[in-house]
Amino acid sequence: MALALSPVPRKLRRPILGAAGLPDAAFRAVVLCFGALAVLALIGLIVAAMVEESSLSLSTFGPSFLAQNVWDPVKREFGTLPFIYGTVVSSLIALLIATPVSLGVAIFIVEMAPPWLGNAISVVVELLAAIPSVLLGLWGIFVMVPYLQRTVEPWFIERFPDVPLFEGPPYGVGLLAGGLILAIMIVPTIVAISRDVMLTVPISQREAMFALGATNWEATSWAVLPYARSGLLGAVMLGLGRALGETMAVTMVIGNRPDISASLFHPAYTMASVIANEFTEATFDLYVSALVEVGLALFLVTVLMNAVARLLVWSTAGSSQRVGAI
């Protein structure tokens, strides 16, 4: 942090306002207005636009909008429970798979692997983060879904005939497919952030353990992980936030049917994908408004997730550190 080490505090450096300081004041005003305030205005615009557009639906349905298990535009009945269910369950499946894998990768990169290997894996994971959602969806539709339908799902259905989790015909598309695609997408997020969090753990933490004769794993599990705990939790929450709002890849593989079913193989629908699929087809105001309200709910949940997660990460790594790839 150059800021903290600076011998002259920046505040003392501010030019005195007056004729000579005028250009400086003007420059600062420009940067503030066109930069900082524009970003702030953008956030304000997002909230205002969503609330304004969804007001019709908000006033028509009230809180029951979130609890009704019916989505029938023809009869003008709108309830989002199936979408909430699909979003939450697919995200949880993703989290269940991605969390141990990602934390494992991060620990491996930072604590175990030789530097060249750690860097190489880092690079590849960052590239995985750069692959657009729609391309993963394309692979999901034509490669992963047929494989699930022909091989994986029949295997489970045959072996566990009475387990509700594996009931029904193997569609291929469904909660499991959605969860798997999401898991692939959030691994890079969690790896990048938890890696950076662990890199901020002071080296003395490890050295103290090694001096006591600890093995590599003991040093990691007793001195590094506890130190980084809240930051790692933040990393996982950022992954969850991404999974909840992810649209294209999920839309392409989850089956897009507003059902609530215990079976992992049953087609489902998420909040983001109902917006993606139906927004341009929404023919009357209430329909559009209902979809925007789904978006508003999604926005609020992901913002809350992100806010808490950032605070957790900052509590370990500090706010000025660049944590995580883009």
Binding site: A2, S221, N306
Partner: protein
Amino acid sequence: MALALKAGLSTTRRQVINRVMGALLCLAAAIALTPLVLVIGFILANGAAGLSLDLLTKLPRPVGEVGGGMANAFLGTAILIALASAIGVPVGVLAGIYLSEFGDNWFAAALRFLTDVLTGVPSIVIGIVAYTLLVIPLRSFSALAGGVALAMLMIPVVTRTTEEALKRVPESLREAALGLGVAEWKTILFVVVPSGLGGIVTGVMLAIARISGETAPLLFTAFGSRYWQDGLMKPIAAVPLQIFQYAVAPYKDWHNQAWAAAFILMLLILGLNVGVRVATHSGFQRVQ
């Protein structure tokens, strides 16, 4: 010894646990890399098969007819990126300058936090916002709305990377300039920003790489089109949008075109990612 007592385990046992955990973590890395290899592999293989010059030079044929390309979509993506950059880069860079150079107060701290949170807003939500702000008042899907939606996604990324880049500029440079009597605004514009330019450019290029594959915010802003572009107030085609529409349609020929377009898009995005980091020497984040 102290640890052995605490764990209640023999040294051999502890060594074995260490080895096993090492192997498990290595396995985790292998599991995480597998999908990347699979996705890239399939896109390369299936995409190369469908690749043809028509894809880049011809318009889409009417629905159901075989052949044609998506030249308009490639042009459309270029137009959308240009529009988004024209709006997003100045705002993002100025906000980044503010955070780095005037950012030691509570307002900047709040702004920094909000910018980070903004990065996590689902892109489909950004699409709704652009729809509300531009599509409804103008009564038409448009290139403009698509560009604005992408700009909104770009701004937080550019802001934070600019801030990072400028913060890496040594404080002594600023003090040297100020000590010579150079005004603060000149110091920032002609000393600090040029020194951090490499990092800013990296951030901008990575932001472009990110938005060039975005689909969700374009669904109901840019909307897509099967013709050449006719002004910024008309719907516009985009490569990721076209890939999505072709992938979920029932035509074999469209699937092949989707794979081929995915091939080109992926090479562009990965190429941009690798190229920019190598060119500016900023590199990927280093472990050691």
